[in-house]
Amino acid sequence: MYGKAVTPMSARAANSALICGTMTLALLLGGCTSSPEPQVSASPPSPVSSPSGPSSPATSPPSPPASSPSLNADYALTINITIARGKTVPSGEKINVRVGQKVILNVTSDTDDEIHAHIGGEGYELPVQAGTPARGSFTLEDPGSFEVESHHLEKIIVILNAR
């Protein structure tokens, strides 16, 4: 869950868990509201190391201020990704984006990896070299729920819910 969406959803999730109080499933789900904040923020410009990333720091639109969520198609959404010791941060977070909004990935990793974004069509691929920050971007053209994964670790980094 991301940004301002966290508080109202968790309160309502608790209510709903009461509605179906008999259900262990629902109670288990309540645990999800304790997940940490995703690493989504305005980021300092960094060198473009992705051959497929069309953006450069000088021309990319400004990132949203910290108080506003990602749901504004005029702003790019920057996701900072750290891969270290076989784990990814963030790990399985769900992030809301607008259809047409630019998504920028800033990746640092301690091993060579490939970031795969299954965004429909052929998908988007960002190669990452150990120790070298990588940056790439793509735009979600259609609504849906899409996974961004570390290909070598076979782990889901974020799930983008595009509306």
């Binding site: 999730a13 209510n15 609504p143 729920s145």
Partner: protein, 436 residues
């Protein structure tokens, strides 16, 4: 094309809006109690009724029609088998969509629209029948008799196996893994049919039991020797669930719920950052989900034993039909877009099973129409209606059974725990689609 980590689709349904979850839960709870308190007090569907269809019966019982249907289905399987044995180990190989979409999801509309079609055309039965014809033995005759209590228990185990393959098995979209599973399935089913006779296939084939169970909700039902057009509620009410049917239904509901559950951030994060291998988590989670469904439903139904004149252990099997509409609602809500979008992709790839640029059925040049994804609100509405609609039908079925099985003055009290369990399943289904 990048291969997704899990499953075959790279694009998934958006989470159900939370307002829909609340609306659905309130509707489910309200309608349940309205039905419980105000509905009929005497059984309404004691007889199936319906309209006899003598012409249709003659057509479906015609030996040539049956033979043609069997040959067509067998040929479709042989074509898929060709792709599996000699095709490329890529997602463009139609075998993956054939197994995970056409078979697993496609059998549902087939069974609802065509009734017991799968039982009549199951390629395993055709293979077994062919072997028996070669050996000049009666396909009904085996070397041993399968005990009656076995019911469909073997298929419940098989459905757990398929759920495991679909949701837990690493590299499930590679040919080596799929070939092994298909081989095991063929050997167990065909050898078992030789040992126990044809009855084994009806007891152990997960796909046939899945199809024939869901076909209980079809508008077509065979009564005696004739096919009738029936009210699905009356048809479902007439179902005599075999031993193990509760486990079959729990496996269907539990594995569908687990599919959604593995998509929550809570689960992904927990499993990915755990030192315990993901396979262990997946196996335990899938089993736990099925057991939760099985135990909670069995306890809710067994409560009726306090008010009726049968042993408590009889009631889960008598009542299990009322879970089928909920299962159907879950399946529609979870897999409808998968069937529509990935089903098309499978149809396209089916023209070129070996990846050599063939266009045998003329479908290879078609594009996948995924426009349905551009209407997320409509998808969410269909999901909500499927879950709540399935719940309402389930509650109506449970009420009908309860007034038939319990004395009129005690029917309401007796079915209350089961009703709460069903409301719980429905709320959990909605919450899982909200997928936090």
């Amino acid at each position: 094309m990048l291969v997704p980590l899990h499953g075959i689709a790279s694009r998934h349904d958006l989470p159900l809006p939370f307002s829909f979850v609340v609306i659905g839960a309130v509707l489910a709870l309200t309608i349940s109690f309205v039905i419980l308190i105000f509905a009929w007090r005497h059984p309404r569907f004691e007889r199936v009724g319906g309209h006899p269809m003598p012409g249709l019966t003659a057509v479906v019982d015609n030996p040539i029609v049956r033979l043609v249907a069997r040959v067509l289905v067998l040929a479709t399987y042989a074509w898929a088998g060709l792709a599996m044995m000699f095709g490329q180990d890529l997602l463009t190989n139609p075998i993956f969509g054939f197994v995970y979409v056409w078979m697993w999801v496609g059998l549902v509309p087939i069974s609802l629209l065509l009734g017991q079609f799968w039982r009549a055309t199951n390629p395993l039965r055709s293979i077994h029948r062919g072997l028996c014809a070669l050996a000049r033995v009666d396909p009904e005759q085996g070397l041993a008799t399968l005990p009656g209590w076995a019911g469909v228990w073997p298929a419940a185990v098989g459905l757990f196996g398929f759920g495991w393959l679909e949701l837990v098995q690493p590299d499930r979209t590679t040919l080596a893994v799929l070939r092994l599973w298909v081989l095991v399935w063929l050997v167990i089913l065909v050898l078992g049919a030789i040992v126990f006779g044809q009855r084994w296939i009806g007891a152990a084939d997960p796909f046939e039991v899945y199809a024939s169970t869901l076909a209980q909700m079809s508008i077509w039902r065979r009564v005696g020797d004739e096919v009738r057009l029936v009210n699905p509620l009356a048809g479902l009410n007439a179902w005599h669930a075999p031993p193990g049917a509760t486990a079959v239904v729990a496996a269907l509901l539990g594995s569908t719920a687990f599919d959604s559950f593995t998509n929550t951030s809570w689960w992904i994060q927990g499993v990915q950052n755990s030192n315990v291998p993901a396979v262990v988590w997946g196996t335990a989670g899938l089993m736990a989900m099925i057991i939760i469904v099985f135990v909670s439903f069995s306890l809710g139904a067994a409560w009726m034993g306090r008010y009726g004149d049968r042993p408590a252990a009889d009631y889960p099997r008598l009542m299990v039909g009322s879970l089928l509409p909920i299962v159907l609602g879950y399946i529609v809500a979870h897999y409808a877009t998968l069937l529509i979008v990935e089903g098309q992709r499978t149809a396209i790839n089916f023209s070129d099973p070996l990846g050599r640029g063939w266009n045998v059925f003329g479908s290879a040049e078609m594009g996948v129409n995924s426009a349905i994804f551009n209407h997320p609100t409509a998808i969410a509405l269909v999901q909500l209606c499927a879950i709540v609609g399935g719940h309402v039908f389930g509650i109506v079925c449970a009420h009908e059974k309860a007034v038939a099985l319990l004395p009129p003055d005690r029917a309401v009290r007796g079915q209350l725990p089961l009703l709460l369990v069903m409301v719980g399943f429905t709320c959990a289904g909605l919450l899982l689609l909200f997928s936090p």
